[in-house]
């Protein structure tokens, strides 16, 4: 009993902290999402039901945000993981200048998001003085002038995905290079003696050996991409609905604090819908991983 008491005492600060700042807000969000016509100032509501969910799911802005989020997730997660894997493979196969390249690839990770956003502005934004570097390049090769920031949807989405991939890549490269380095070179030698083609060594040995790390990156990648928001703001400013580039988290934020905000109930409902989506995807990921990921 005494032993238990000590244990609980030691756990107390953490439990208190988590309870107040994690568990209580979670329950609160859940409760809010079912309170119809909730008024923050008077702390009152009309009734309890599914109206908030119905409203959110019928809101064209939410549908747009949902669509944007899914496009970003589906494009950036596989692409960033794949490219990061390719770069890591290259990095671990070169000897000279490896440290230099590693540093270069890692730079975006330590660079401020907004500063990076500014660079992307210079690259992509059309202003009164310049068409943006990329647009100028496209015109050089005879293409049309494209405004990537205020132009057509596909152009904006392209910049968005490009930016997201670029910003998440360093971490993935870091994780994957260390995962690759931890594979015992003995296996490669064994495979070499057995005349194994390069692609087969990668597919049959390297990939299974680093699969736990790849899986970790895919899961966190999915969750991270579903929660995308700050990157959108960095590129398109705070009025994401007007730009048509809102995301689910952006929608939640707008519902709370935006110009059309002040609706914690709608925000809670949207947040819980996002939670349901992330939960489902993660569960699917885990189920797939059980068959494909090898843990030593």
């Amino acid at each position: 009993m005494k032993k238990n008491l000590t244990a609980w005492l030691c756990l107390l600060p953490a439990i208190l902290f988590l309870g107040v700042f994690m568990v209580y807000p979670l329950i609160d969000v859940f409760v809010y999402s079912f309170e119809e016509g909730y008024n923050f100032a008077s702390q009152s509501f009309w009734s309890v039901g599914f109206y908030n969910y119905s409203y959110v799911l019928h809101d064209p802005f939410f549908i747009q945000a949902l669509k944007n989020t899914f496009i970003i997730v589906i494009i950036t997660v596989p692409l960033s993981t794949g490219i990061a894997l390719l770069i890591s493979l290259e990095l671990s196969s070169i000897k000279a200048l490896r440290d230099l390249f590693q540093t270069i690839y890692f730079l975006p990770y330590v660079t401020n998001t907004l500063a990076v956003g500014l660079v992307f502005m210079i690259l992509f934004k059309k202003t009164a003085y310049s068409d943006g570097l990329i647009s100028i390049l496209i015109q050089l090769f005879g293409g049309p002038s494209v405004d990537f920031i205020d132009g057509p949807y596909w152009a904006k989405m392209f910049v968005m995905c490009f930016y997201t991939i670029w910003i998440v890549m360093p971490f993935k490269i870091l994780i994957l290079t260390s995962a690759l380095a931890s594979v015992n070179p003995m296996y490669y030698k064994a495979a070499q003696v057995d005349n194994t083609p390069k692609w087969r060594i990668f597919y049959k040995i390297t990939l299974p050996m680093i699969s736990p790390m790849v899986f970790y990156l895919v899961i966190t990648g999915f969750i991270g991409a579903f929660k995308a928001y700050s990157d959108e703001v960095a590129l398109f400013g705070t009025d994401l609905n007007a730009a048509g580039m809102n995301t689910i988290v952006g929608y939640v934020y707008d519902m709370l604090y935006g110009n059309s905000g002040g609706y914690p109930s709608y925000a809670s409902a949207a947040a819980l819908i996002l939670f349901a989506i992330v939960f489902t995807i993660t569960t699917i990921n885990l189920m797939v991983s059980r068959k494909t990921v090898y843990y030593q």
Binding site: K189, V193, N195, T196, R200, K204
Partner: protein, 364 residues
């Protein structure tokens, strides 16, 4: 397949960059490994034996010299083109694949006219598994097996593609003592059944002696002696070989040759016709001592260790290099001890004399 090494040399740049001189891991190897034999590459750790194996396998490129398999020069060939099977010290079994898939792995790499159908592969896998007696383990993962079983799988994987040469790097070092005994018999049996020229690396002289058809003794990258185990044991070429082979170790004394006689201290032991005035090392095998009241060689008695069949007499002598001399005598033999002294006569065949400077053998 006969393996011929010609002036094979491997130099590595020194780790310490201040030292310009290269490290010579394998120094001018010249020898022929006859077809279908089991060869033990023996030497203390760091003597370059694994490097020699890697050179034969192709994982390392020689700095100089040539390697032939049969009549074919394979020096420039990469390992995958040499048709060798290699068993690694830690077996290097792919941990994520079952035993079956591990053995199948080399077969799946066969392309072109050598490509096998599923049935052919299955047949070969089961044959290899049967040879090393792991048929009932085919569904297991490597980490679900004991060291000895993993070792068999590794051998099966190396053998399944029917290589011309089988190379084993310290194949028994990861096994416990009992398993080691058992596995080395197994290794011998597999080698004899398949008739594949097999080279294995070991630092354990007992291991090398017990199963090899031929032993190659190395030290500091230099070939010391090669031959069948018994003749190396009986006729070591130098002091290093003499002390490296045999347990308990050979007993080494400082001595001299005077007036055509080999002496240790005051004791005159053997005739040395035609030799005079030489500083020498006299090495006596533990089984070379015979307790003899009137024997020429007197030692101080310390202890006796009964081992059942034989008895070890522990004695000391001022000219001895080391701590205690071990003499092995039959258990039923009486020991005449007088004032703490024991006298021995020696079996001439068990005594070797080496030059005091070069440590090369002096033939008497």
């Amino acid at each position: 397949m006969k393996i011929v090494l010609e002036h094979l040399t491997k130099r590595f740049p020194n780790r310490n960059k201040k030292i310009k001189e290269d490290v010579v891991a394998v120094n001018d190897f010249n020898f022929t490994i006859p077809d279908g034999k089991l060869i033990g590459l023996l030497g203390p750790s760091g003597c370059g034996k694994s490097t020699a194996l890697n050179l034969i396998c192709g994982l390392e490129k020689p700095s100089e010299g040539k390697i032939f398999f049969g009549e074919k020069d394979i020096t420039e060939l990469p390992p995958e083109k040499r048709g060798v099977g290699l068993v690694f010290q830690n077996y290097a079994l792919y941990p994520h694949l079952s035993v079956y898939d591990n053995i199948k792995f080399p077969l799946e790499n066969l392309r072109g006219e050598n490509k096998l159908t599923k049935e052919q592969m299955d047949k070969k896998i089961r044959e290899a598994a049967k040879l090393v007696q792991i048929e009932e383990l085919l569904d297991r993962r490597p980490n679900e097996m004991s060291g000895g079983q993993q070792q068999r799988v590794a051998i099966a994987r190396a053998l399944v593609k029917t290589p011309e040469v089988l190379l084993l790097d310290e194949p028994l070092s990861n096994l416990d003592a009992r398993l080691r005994l058992q596995t080395r018999e197994e290794l011998k049996r597999i080698q004899q059944e398949t008739g594949i020229t097999t080279v294995f690396v070991t630092h354990d002289q007992e291991e090398a002696m017990s199963i090899s058809d031929m032993i190659v003794v190395m030290k500091d990258g230099v070939l010391q002696q090669m031959g069948d185990p018994q003749s190396i044991y009986d006729e070591p070429a130098n002091l290093f070989v003499a002390s490296f082979l045999g347990t308990p170790q050979i007993n080494v004394f400082t001595g001299c040759i005077k007036n055509e006689k080999v002496c240790i201290g005051d004791s005159v032991l053997l005739d040395a016709p035609g030799k005079d005035d030489l500083e020498v090392y006299v090495a006596i095998r533990p089984e070379g001592f015979v307790v003899d009241e009137n024997g020429p060689f007197e030692c101080t008695f310390v202890n006796r260790e009964v081992m059942g069949r034989d008895t070890s007499l522990i004695v000391t002598h001022p000219e001895f290099i080391g701590e205690k001399i071990r003499a092995i005598i039959p258990s039923d033999e009486a020991v005449h001890e007088k004032d703490g002294k024991v006298r021995f006569s020696l079996k001439p065949k068990k005594v070797c004399v080496f030059d005091g400077e070069t440590t090369e053998r002096i033939m008497l």
